[in-house]
Amino acid sequence: MKTIIKGGTIINGYGGNEKADILVDNGKVEAIEKTIESNDALIIDANGKYVLPGFVDMHTHLRQPGFEEKETIKTGTHAAVAGGYTTVACMPNTNPVIDNEVVVEYIKSIAKRDGYSKVIPIGSMTKGMMGEEISEMAKLKDAGIVALSDDGHPIMNAGLMKRIMIYGSMYDLLMITHCEDKMLSGEGVMNNGLISTMIGLRGIPHEAEEVMIARNIILAKSTGARLHIAHVSTKDSVELIRRAKADGVNITAEVTPHNLCLTEEIVDGFDTNTKAYPPLRTKEDVDALIEGLKDGTIDVIATDHAPHTKDDKKVPYEIAAFGISGIEIAFSVIYTYLVKNGLITLEDLVSYMSINPAKLLKTSYGIKVGNAADITVVDTNKEYTVNVDNFKSKGKNSPFNGKRLTGVVEYTLVDGKIIYKNNGKFEECNV
């Protein structure tokens, strides 16, 4: 089936920005020209809209296998395409953990059967994410992983982390590290600071993150591993990464939309939907994170989409699950808080949400002739009010509920097929 995306402004991800038509056929971009006419093509009217390379999320929790009540590959990727994402990399903290080729195969086959977006599994660094024995990285690589992470379970043993880096580097695997010194974060549930003091919740100090980032930088420097810092949240973390980059360390970093756009102040009132790891920090941290994005210290905006059930959150703050469900509104959040306020451009957004993560995951990127037609059409003039009840994700846990956002995903094409259309109807659902 031929499709023509007509009259939109294309941001192709290679620095180009032009008003043109795109012909899509056989899952690929066949032509990009001023005007393309065809009698037998499906027409997408993109007039007044932007045509972007589909977003790539390198930090998603799909929860399957093991926690299907929170999310499944079906609902998670449904949410992803509704958010304009065409590829998601899913974290290994499933049950069983993604620490062997069988689980990788399982996820790939379920994604093929009922996934909407493309799915790239991330393997665990240690067996069962127990932080004891290194996982079968070569087998995992052959099964299809490109990155390793023990995400929420930071490797406290520095010797083990070093061996993971040395072994994993033989296979060029990206080391995605959740940086948290558990001894410092202790029983903390929110940022340690003014608000935690005020409302009597235990705090997570910023040093908990920075100490671990510093350690991992030192280890990456000595091993040459490709280090990627997950969800950076503090000012001093940004500075550590900036210095490491200047120092030639092979390091990249990501930040979440909520850490970029919200501060600890909204925890006052005990809304458990504001509880995430890393916690929402201060205005000063947020400013530093934006600065870090702008000067290239932070490469990627990743959602850390962490869906939970209502029961996981309808409890006192201290025992509520950490995490925010955010993949389907990430674009609007970034557009509203950063692009609309003139802090970054839409081209930057494309780099952070599509091009850079695609490069790190070694998948195709950008809109050009011959590439897979993974394309997202957005309308930056439309506004809407977030209503979590309309989320495709099973996770309704969002601190943005009720907020007015600008920027709507109109169409998402995966391999040339219209997988999502703004009216919520799905034309096709095979990836």
């Binding site: 409302i199 009597g200 235990r202």
Partner: protein, 310 residues
């Protein structure tokens, strides 16, 4: 006009505080007159404590009975909540017993706020985690008011494990709202400097902290904090942060000594000081019943005025 729920002192206005304290003064007459009033006839008051505290619970029970209300008490273990039986469901069951006011104590900050959001009954926070203990603060304020008349310019020092103390937080909010100067003192591991941003003065030298104050308030120190490495020993705490008669001499001549009880004698307060003329600790207990009566009365009146809204 107080809100539907009493969750903390921080979200109360100065006028609310004065109204409650004035009402408590009236209520104290009922206690002293030893006659039961029927102000709350037909009302049902239930306490639900997820963390044991006989003293506070009993104080609420007395308050309800002095006003002629039905009173019930439920004790439950927090562990059952963690197991999955949701806190809200538990309390909703209690609400179905036609409770007008539910008094909640919970070991987690914000638990009463969560209930207040989902329930029609009025919730009184009887202590939540490290956050607030509004009724304790109200009885402290009442006691101070009886002895000192005005809060304006009054110097009050709160000493001990401030960061883990809901009593300290509630008192700080109340005293600041009423115009007093609030000093906080304790070891730095138990007292972050951040408290200064909230309007208090922070001291790590207790002698300086106590100098020239009108009110000295000790807090109960949890001895297990020593095991978590927050202070080195009971003895070191007693020597450097304990309230002694020597130190009380640094305060104003007519200073009073308060403590929410029960006291670790010779740790946060030396035994002789606790029994000295400074101490108003026993009066605090009586005033505790009076302020709780006042809250029950005001909440029930408010409910009557807003009947259609609940």
């Amino acid at each position: 006009m107080i809100k539907k729920d009493v969750l903390g002192i921080r979200d109360m206005s100065k006028e609310d505080l004065i109204e409650i304290l004035d009402t408590a003064k009236e209520m104290k007459k009922i206690i002293e007159g030893e006659k039961i009033s029927d102000i709350l006839k037909g009302k049902t008051i239930i306490t639900i404590f997820f963390e044991p505290s006989t003293r506070t619970r009993l104080s609420f029970e007395m308050a309800a009975k002095y006003l002629g209300a039905h009173f019930g008490n439920i004790e439950t273990k927090t562990s059952s909540v963690i197991k999955g039986e949701s806190l809200i469901d538990t309390v909703r069951t209690v609400e179905r017993m036609k409770a007008d006011v539910i008094i909640v104590r919970h070991n987690m900050s914000g638990a009463p706020h969560l209930m207040a959001k989902y329930l029609n009954a009025s919730i009184i926070n009887a202590g939540d985690g490290l956050n607030e203990h509004p009724t304790q603060a109200l009885l402290d304020l009442m006691t101070i008011r009886e002895k000192k008349e005005s809060f304006k310019g009054l110097k009050v020092v709160i000493i001990g494990d401030i960061v883990h103390s809901r009593v300290a937080r509630s008192n700080m909010w109340g005293l600041l709202k009423l115009g007093a100067e609030v000093r906080l003192a304790g070891p730095a591991t138990l007292l972050p400097k951040t408290f200064e941003k909230l309007g208090a003065k922070v001291y790590y030298d207790i002698d300086k902290a106590i100098e020239d104050v009108d009110v000295v308030m000790g807090l109960r120190i949890q001895l297990e904090r020593q095991k978590s490495g927050l202070f080195p020993s009971k003895d070191e705490f007693a020597r450097y942060f304990g309230i002694t008669s020597e130190r009380m001499k640094l305060a104003k001549k007519n200073a009073i000594l308060m403590h929410p009880g029960p006291i670790n004698r010779n740790v946060e307060i030396s035994s002789e000081t606790a029994n000295s003329g400074y101490s108003v600790i026993e009066e605090q207990v009586t005033n505790g019943v009076a302020v709780r009566m006042a809250l029950l009365k005001l909440l029930c009146e408010r409910r009557k005025n807003n009947e259609n809204n609940y």
